[in-house]
């Protein structure tokens, strides 16, 4: 029978099926971080259950870490305790941890692919909804709650009902200046924030085939913002080239054998999906959001739609925007380039390329936060740090930072922030803050101009 990429990976990981119930799904790699793991460690300790496969777990500290002075003790007491608890839990249970300051430390969804932990055909989980990122490699990867973290600790498995399948196909040539972030913001704006709930999504078409791994990760990362537990892209030569030679990637003959297997994974020609959508790449333009969920997005040159709905109006009131209004020329005082969506080297190259030779607007506070120590090192090595600093930007140390504002990187009450992150929820970047999601290019242009500009005019 013809199978989808998702079917092939899922079916090969089913340990058993409960009659009229879920299946036991085997999990190959379990990523953990300081915020959603402590209660799971406690749970197992309380129930005197050992961790079954510590060597299949990789830990990092990212959500609740400072982006300045990482070499000094963490100032915030609660954060310091949470980080110490992760270190202690990992040590006690023989789990590999890349803690703050380690050369491999970084946002879990940036550092794991960099190290080659992420590979095609695997099942991967993490107590973080943006685990969908790893689907860019043709892995089944999804976010889980802390009870499930404990389940994987105890059994290396989860009890799950197989989700339905969805395919989003985008063919054609992308316009100049349209980045992977615009592609996914466009898809979510078209389909809405709950269109993918209950589904696993495959992205297909030449647009994704031609994307770098960094771009594919940006797309898959935001699958959860349309409700899909995960997103996947078929592994191909781009994937294999990225994985080859990385720390945990198979080597030599073993790698060749893996590649031969990975080549069998793409969706069969006549496989059926429960739901399909098709879009034309030519219709996509640089995108921007105006509301308080990622589905409330428009092309940057468009106007806020006129919708009569209480939730829509509540959202606009929070953002202090009006129906029918354009966002062009809105003054912006904060810009954030970072997060597991857009903090990879490619994102900083895009920003640096635009910024080079220009000066940041005086009214703007701009934070550039690399996704990992390795990205940070590469920024320095490629001379991008100098470009940023010459233009008046601040390059911070790696972490989740202002994406969720768990640390001190908070946007003040009432301020707008043009952000390359993934969620524009009320208060997401700090109490009362107002988030406008965009690509690294739009964010960089906003920082230079001190206001939102119609970037398409500069590009064409």
């Amino acid at each position: 029978m013809s199978k989808t990429l998702f079917d092939k990976v899922w079916d090969s990981h089913v340990v058993n099926s409960i009659e009229n119930g879920p299946q036991i799904l085997y999990i190959d790699k379990h990523l953990i971080h300081e915020v959603t793991s402590p209660q799971a460690f406690n749970e197992l300790e309380d129930r005197k259950i050992p961790i079954l496969r510590p060597n299949q777990i990789v830990a990092t500290a990212d959500h609740n870490t400072p982006t300045q002075n990482q070499e000094k003790p963490v100032e915030d007491e609660l954060s310091r305790k949470q980080l110490a608890q992760l270190s202690e839990n990992c040590k006690k249970n023989n789990i590999t941890l890349y803690e703050l300051g380690h050369k491999y430390n970084g946002i879990v969804h940036v550092m794991a692919p960099e190290l080659g932990v992420t590979q095609p055909g695997l099942t991967m989980v993490c107590g973080d909804s943006h685990t969908s990122t790893h689907g860019a490699f043709g892995a089944i990867a999804f976010g889980i709650g802390t009870s499930q973290v404990a389940q994987v600790f105890a059994s290396q498995c989860l009890l799950l009902t197989k989700p339905k399948s969805l395919r989003v196909t985008v063919n054609g040539k992308l316009k100049n200046g349209v980045l992977p972030k615009d592609v996914i913001l466009y898809i979510i704006a078209k389909l809405g924030t709950n269109s993918g709930t209950g589904y696993f999504c495959e992205y297909a078409g030449n647009v994704f085939e031609e994307m770098s791994m960094e771009g594919r990760m940006t797309v898959c990362n935001m699958s959860i913002e349309m409700g899909a537990r995960g997103g996947m892209i078929a592994p191909d030569q781009t994937t294999f080239d990225y994985v080859e030679g990385r720390e945990f990637a198979p080597k030599g003959e073993a790698f060749k054998n893996k590649v031969a297997y990975w080549k069998t994974l793409p969706t069969d020609k006549d496989a059926k999906f429960d739901k399909e959508y098709h879009f034309d790449a030519q219709d996509i333009e640089p995108m921007i959001t105006y509301g308080t969920n990622p589905g409330m997005g428009i092309k940057i040159s468009e106007y806020i739609p006129e919708v009569s709905d209480a939730s829509f109006e509540k959202s606009l009131k929070y953002m202090d925007f009006k129906k029918g209004e354009s966002l062009i020329n809105k003054p912006i005082n904060f810009v954030f380039i970072g997060s597991c969506t857009n903090s990879r080297i490619e994102d900083f190259r895009v920003a640096a390329n635009y910024i080079k030779g220009k000066q940041k607007a005086n009214n703007v506070t701009a934070w550039l936060v690399p996704g990992s120590k390795q990205v940070e090192a590469q920024i320095i090595e490629e001379g991008l740090k100098t470009v940023f600093e010459d233009a008046g930007f601040e390059l911070r140390q790696p972490g989740c930072s202002a994406c969720l504002a768990m640390n001190d990187d908070k946007i003040p009450q009432g301020e707008y922030c043009v952000s390359t992150s993934n969620r524009n929820f009320e208060g997401r970047q700090g109490q009362g803050s107002r988030t406008i999601l965009a690509s690294p290019l739009v964010a960089a242009a906003t920082a230079i101009e001190g206001k939102i500009i119609d970037i398409t005019k500069q590009l064409n």
Partner: protein
């Protein structure tokens, strides 16, 4: 996990769509390393103004409404995977959340914590919200065995779906860890012969 069979209670209407987990429990409260106490900060930025004063316009602060059932707008629990959202809602005293649609991860987290997510039709949700908003004393009866939700005052009886396995877990107070740990031999056998 606490057992759940039936519940009779008044309900609190939260007539807002797309309630995300950042609203249920903002990230700045996720620094704790145990499960208790999150109820103090549930819907924190809607319940309180930034200066710490109570926002009396928010429904959870309205003395008219009380009960252990939360009736909320479409697409409840979207956003992050933080189970702290389910902990915060249960810690505040809710045992049931009713909506016309739940985000996947939230729904799973709720079921793993003995919090019953009941999905009803849009029409049913609107009728419930309208009734509770007008008549806060309305009693709602939930029966998990029969998979029904009943509001006698408006003759509303709706059936809801739940995975049969999860239903058994909730009625008996079992969780997935119990099941999985009992199947370790099967899991080890899978590891020994996996083909990928």
């Amino acid at each position: 996990m606490e057992k759940f069979t039936t519940l009779q209670s008044t309900a609190i209407p939260l007539n807002i769509e797309n309630v995300d987990t950042d609203q249920i429990i903002p990230a700045r409260f996720l620094k704790a390393t145990d499960r208790q106490g999150f109820g103090n900060n549930v819907f924190r930025d809607w319940r309180y103004h930034k200066d710490g004063s109570v926002n009396s316009d928010f429904v959870l602060n309205n003395p008219k409404y009380s009960g252990s059932i939360l009736v909320a707008g479409d697409n409840f629990g979207c956003g992050s995977s933080r189970e702290h959202a389910a902990w915060a809602i249960t810690d505040f005293g809710f045992k049931v959340v009713v909506s016309s649609f739940f985000a996947d991860i939230f729904k799973g987290n709720a079921l793993n914590n003995g919090l019953l997510p009941i999905q009803v039709t849009d029409v049913c949700l609107k009728a419930l919200l309208a009734q509770i908003e007008k008549h806060p004393e309305t009693v709602i009866e939930v029966n998990l065995e029969n998979q029904t939700i009943l509001a006698k005052d408006i003759n509303l009886l709706a059936h809801f779906e739940i995975d049969p396995y999860k239903k058994t877990c909730m009625i008996n107070g079992y969780d997935d860890i119990d099941y999985l740990v009992n199947n370790i031999k099967l899991i080890e056998a899978f590891e020994a012969q996996k083909t990928y």
